[in-house]
Structures are given as C-alpha cells and as structure tokens.
Amino acid sequence: MSKLNHIHQADLEDLNAYLDGALSEKEKAIFQLKLAKSLPLQATLREYTFLRNALRSVPPRKAPRHFTLTTEEARALKPRFTFAPLFSLASMVSLMFLGILFASEWIFKNVSAPPAKQADAVVMNESAEAMPAVPQEHTAIEAKTDAPLLFNWGQGYAGGLGGGMGDGAVPMSSGMAIFDSSHNPMIINSALQPEYEISAEQPLSVTAEMMPAESAVPVPEERPLRMSAPAEKPAGYTGAIIWGLRPADEGKVLQVYPPMLASSAQPVNNQTEAETASVPAKGKDSLSAIVFEPWVKYLLGALTLIFGVTAYVLTRRFNRTF
C-alpha cells in the first residue's frame, strides 16, 4: 500500500497495460526505462503479476444448462404488433399541445401585458414632466371620481392615427382632449406641439349633452378648444386610462387578448350587448378563442392521461409474455 502511494496513477495504468501486453513498442520501451530506475514500481509489478495470475487461476464455471431457445419460445418472442407506441405517441402529442397552450397563455398574461403598461407609464411620466400644472378647477373635478379617463383622438378631422388628410385638412395633433367618465372635459397639451391651435372651422367640442346633469361645473355649450391649455393627470387620480376610439371604430368590439377573454368583452361606447352579439366574429379569431377556452385544456389533459395509461397498460401486458 505504501509503495502504491509513491507511484503515480499514470505509471500504475502503464504498469497494468505492460503486464497485459497492451502497450505499443514505443510505450513499452519508455516504461521499461522507467521501471529499471524505480524500485517501488518493480515491487508493484511483482505484486500485480502475482495478483493477475491468482485471478486467472480461478477455474471457469460451467454453465448449469444450455440457454438455447426452443421453437415455441422463439415464436413467442417474435415481435408482435401492439398499439402501445401509438398511444404513447398520442399521449406525448397531447401533452405537447397542452404545454404550448399553457406557455402561450402565460406569455399573453405575463410577458406581453406588463411591458405595455410600463411603456404607457413612461410616456405618461414624460408627458407630465413636460406639461405645466393643470388648472386647479380641473383637478378638483377629476379628483371627484375614480372612473377611467377617456383620451379622444379628436373628431372626424384627425384623419386616422398618424395619417394626413391632405391640403387644407387639419393634421392630427399629438395633443388630445381628455374626458373623464362623467364627461367633464379637460385639455392636455402636447409636449411636441405646445402652441398648436385647432381651427374654428372644425372645432373639437364638448357639447352639453355629454355632460351629466349633476355636474357642478359649468361648461360652455360649444367653443373652440385651445390645445395649449396646460394639463396633467390630476393628483390623486387612480383610475385607469382608456384611450379613445377613432370614429370609424365606434360601436365595434376590438381585438381582445388573450382571445379567451373575448367572450367576456364589453361593447365599447354605448353599444348594447345584443348589438355586440350580432357582430360576426372572424374565423381566425374564433378559432383562437376556442383554443384558449378552459375546456380545451381539460380535454387535452384528460386525453394525455388516458393515452398514457393505455400505453402503459398495453406495454406491461406485452412485456409480460416474455
């Protein structure tokens, strides 16, 4: 044992290979030189030679019987067709779909949504920093309610989101009017175009009909809005912000993500539920909605379980014959 401690593991491996004649001529010559100089190596070689001879002197055992196969055994061992692999594959496919379903749902809920909220928050913060303080009377009005704010993209003259309207038309301003759910108007200013003014020909107006009867704030019946009016999100306002719709989109149910929520989507503006139901769903969207329905997950889970158990039972029954 003490001798072995003085011998490097690589030398010990070479010694064994030398003993078994597994070294090449070059390796053998190198090892013999090393062996001639090392007494511990020589002693270990003697011990290992003796050990190897002792191991090889152990008499081989005769097999107690023949292990040949009879014709009947061979016939029984022939591979037979079984549905087990098919069920196994079906189970794996169901499991894969289930996984994809959960993953996509998780992505919709946790990956897509938060960045959008964060981006909105950044934009709002930047806008708020660039804007002067809102007049006190507006703040007081807004602070009364937690209803969501409505950002209106402007009336018919905006020409779509970012689209021009040609000569003479008023391009859409990055400034926009804000309404709370009680239809109290307030004006915010664009940081990009603070001095922009809406023309009198197509005024952005708030009519008296839009105002609730209980509103305590007097509102002019119709007046051109000056977009340079300072505004910011009122202090203490905690409600959600709803971006308004283009006039062309009013009354329609827009895309809802994840699609499974589409069934519970409320009609926008003042459209009734009956009207919403009458809106024909597009084929792709309806398919997505079905895929995200909870019963689809239950079905896939059940199929995975049934196919897996069936494959297991068939495999066990098949193997038992051997």
């Binding site: 044992m1 072995l4 593991q9 010990l12 491996e13 010694l15 064994n16 290979a17 078994d20 597994a22 002693a43 003697r46 011990e47 290992y48 003796f50 050990l51 190897r52 002792a54 191991l55 090889r56 002197s57 152990v58 008499p59 081989p60 055992r61 005769k62 097999a63 107690p64 019987r65 023949h66 292990f67 040949t68 196969l69 014709t71 061979a74 061992l77 591979p79 051997f322």
Partner: protein
Amino acid sequence: MDENDLIAQAVRGDLDAFNRLVVSYENTAYNVAYRILNDPIQAEDATQTAVISMYHKLNAYRGGSFKSWFLRIVTNACYDELRRMKRRPTVPLEPETDDGEIVESPAWIEDPSASPEEVLSASEMERAIQNCLSGLEEKFKTVLVMVDLSGEDYESVANIIQSPIGTVKSRLARARQKMQECLQGIGELLPAKYRLKDEEDNEQA
C-alpha cells in the same frame, strides 16, 4: 460453418444457427454474469435474459466482434439484475447440514476432477477473490472480470462497456489496486501458494 455465416443465418431467422451461437458463448456469458452478480441463480437468470435480449436485438447487430456484442448485452442484463436486487433484496436459500448449519460451498459448484487438497485451496482462493470482487464498484468489477477472469483484451472491453481504452486502463488499475488491498487483508487465510509476494518475503524475513 464460421461465425459470420451463423450470424447471417440467425439474422434471417434461422433458430438453429442462433442456438449454435448461444452454445458457443454461453459458458463465457454465464461466468461473466456469475462473477458480477456473485450468485449462480441470478447469473443463470441474467444469462437467459441476455440470450432473449440478443434474439430481439439480432437485427441491430452491425458487425464487429460478436462476442463483445453479446457480452455487452450480458453485462447490461447483470446491471439490471443488480438494480432489481437493490430494490427488492432477497435472502438466498442455502443448503443446510443435518445440524442446521448453512453449507457455504455446495458440492454442485465444485470441480469433481480435482484432488481434495486442490479443491480446498482453489475454493478458498476463489471464495476470497469472489468476496473481494463483491466489494468493488460495478464499473471496476466489470472491467476486472472481463480482463482477468474472462481474458478479454482492452479493445474488446472498451467495446463491451462502450468507453475509450483509456477508461478501461484507469478502471483496471483502480480495480487491481483495490483487489490487491483486499486480498492482502485476507492473505493470511490463504494457502501459501496463493499468498502475495510481499507476505512471503515478510515471512522469510
């Protein structure tokens, strides 16, 4: 008929050719299984399992040493048996004398052709080796059994355990080192013929 012809016929479904291949290697397979498992009944089971497995996998044989390929199947069957034993350990039913004492060296495993002295010393040595083998890890035991008890060369063993030759060398070195330490520990119990050189030197001194 040479081995390649037998293999080709067996692959085509000739049961007689397959059985002739089995008979050629069954003793080697059984010995390897016995040394790894240290139990004749389990070795028999493992060998039979390996033969059945070989029958199933014969189409997957892609040339090379048939013996190495078969011994690889035997080794895997032994590993399966060892795993099964670990999960469900069993108590062997050893034959007993009239006094109720267990006979540790049953007569049926002894070589009837040797003299009583030779049988005694050989069986003691074999028992000592088998005890030391049992204490080795599977990976070391397999290499030692293949090289020293079954007489396979390094390349064949590398093929059987599906590892590089360097791995065979290092495992064999470790296995022999452990075996030597183990046999030195029980060396005094062995007949002088089987004692290690150092012990003989110490006795002479």
